[in-house]
Every structure is written in structure tokens, then in C-alpha cells.
């Protein structure tokens, strides 16, 4: 169990999340994939705090801020999803074409 193990693990989580963002069609599915990416980033913070940091407390505090910001993002995104569902009755990103440039 070394730092490189954790880096490879969080890299795999990041790639899995990017794959989900690119292939999901549903808006909620995309949000779920973003959570996977954030999870990988938090794991990386924790691993660096454990193995490398001269001040591990700061590395333990940062994932908590990431979680709080992620909770805010989730609240606003889900409110947008609800109002969009009320308008269009569907959440398929291929059909949401109003913002096509």
C-alpha cells in the first residue's frame, strides 16, 4: 500500500467517471458519473495527506470542503432537473436542444 497504488486507483475512478459522462444519456446519470470523479479526487487528497504532506490535517480538511461544495452543486442541479422535467417531461440530453449554438 503505497502512494502510487492510490494514485492509480483514483486515476481509474476518474477515467470511469469520464466514460460515464460521455456515454450516459440521462441528466441524472451524468450527475452520478460526476460524483464518481469527485470521489476519486477526494481519495487522492487523502492519500497525499497520508503519505506525503508535512501537514496532514490540511489534507484531511480539504475533502470535507469538496463534499460541501458537491452537496451545493447537487442541490442546485437537482432543482434544475426537476424544473426541466416539469417543462419537457424527459431528461434525455440528446433531446435538450435549445442551447445548440
Amino acid at each position: 500500500m503505497t502512494l502510487s497504488h492510490f494514485i492509480v486507483l483514483s486515476l481509474m475512478l476518474c477515467a470511469i467517471g469520464v466514460h460515464g459522462v460521455l456515454t450516459r444519456r440521462n441528466l441524472i446519470g451524468i450527475l452520478l458519473s460526476v460524483e464518481v470523479i469527485l470521489n476519486g479526487a477526494n481519495l487522492n487528497f487523502a492519500a497525499f495527506a497520508h503519505f506525503r504532506a508535512s501537514d496532514p490535517t490540511a489534507g484531511a480538511i480539504f475533502p470535507i470542503f469538496v463534499m460541501a461544495v458537491s452537496a451545493c452543486e447537487m442541490a442546485v442541479a437537482l432543482a434544475i432537473i426537476i424544473s426541466m422535467y416539469r417543462r419537457k417531461r424527459r431528461l434525455d440530453v440528446y433531446r435538450l436542444e435549445e442551447l445548440n449554438g
Binding site: 503505497t2 502512494l3 502510487s4 497504488h5 492510490f6 494514485i7 492509480v8 486507483l9 486515476l11 481509474m12 476518474c14 477515467a15 470511469i16 467517471g17 469520464v18 466514460h19 460515464g20 460521455l22 456515454t23 450516459r24 440521462n26 441524472i28 446519470g29 452520478l32 460524483e35 464518481v36 470521489n39 477526494n42 481519495l43 487523502a46 495527506a49 497520508h50 503519505f51 506525503r52 496532514p56 490535517t57 490540511a58 484531511a60 480538511i61 470535507i64 470542503f65 463534499m67 460541501a68 461544495v69 452537496a71 451545493c72 447537487m74 442541490a75 442546485v76 437537482l78 432543482a79 434544475i80 432537473i81 426537476i82 424544473s83 422535467y85 416539469r86 417543462r87 424527459r90 434525455d92
Partner: protein
Amino acid sequence: MGDYLFYILATAVVTFSLLAVSLPNLLHGAISLIGAFFATAALYILLQLEFVALAQIMLYIGGIVIFMLIIILLTTGLGSENRHKVPTSRRLVGTGVSGFLLFGLLYAISGKSSAVLAENVSRAAPVTMDAIGLRLLSTRKDGFIVPFEIISILLLVALIGAVVIARRDSGQEEKT
């Protein structure tokens, strides 16, 4: 011992995350995300960061995933509606980009020039909860009181914004 535990937990995290992004039913995806977050919390405990593990369980599993499950049930009815076929070209592009990202970054960090991975077996002391609490509220130069307060304002703004956005406009619903 720690190595075997790490491999078991890492396999669990990767498997559950893969299931979460690839299962066609969103409800099953959100539930497997719960499994991935639990395994990640166990990894945090392995890294001697108990507070982060507890925050992970309470915030992510108890808050965000449950919230997501409620929204899935409200909008897509047991997650089975909105099940669309993804075109093969899009699936190929997604796999290609994520594979390129994975192997490119692996190649980048495993290169000779990166000094990040040198001498990485030094174990830090466990981070205790009272250290985190004192640090989070200290007003000294290395304290985190300013981001803490800003986060509280951000949470308030996000809550009010969510209520305003999701509020049913009067008269709009009847017309459509």
C-alpha cells in the same frame, strides 16, 4: 495485511463505480454508488483519516445519494423510464477518451522525470478529530475559518436558489 485489504477494497470501489456508470437502470446505478462510497470510506480508515470516512458516510451516502434516489423516483419512475439506447459511435468515443486519459496519465506519472512517487512509504501520524476541529475554526494563519464561513454562506445560497428554481410557477403548469 494492509495490502490485501487495500486490493479487496480497491476492487470493490472500481467494480461498484463501473456498475454505477454503466447499469441501464438509474436506480440500480445509484444503489451501487452507495457501495462504492462505503468502500471508499473503508479506504479512508485504512489511511487513518477517520473523520473523512465518517463525513463520507454521512454526507455522501446519507445525503447526496439519498437525494439522488428521491429525484430518480420523482422523475423517471423506478428508473426504468428514460432508458435510451446509446449509439455505438458515442460509446466508442467515450471508451476511447477515457482509455486515453487513463493510460496517458499513467504514462505521465510513471515517467522518470516525475519525483512525486519517490520515497513514498513515510507514514504520517493519524489525523485525530479534535485536531481537525481546532484547525477548522482557528483564526491563526494556518486556520480554515474563512473557507468554513464561506462554505456556510454558499450552502445557504444554494438552498435558497434550489427552492427558487424548483418552485412551481403559478399558471405555467396549467397552460402546457
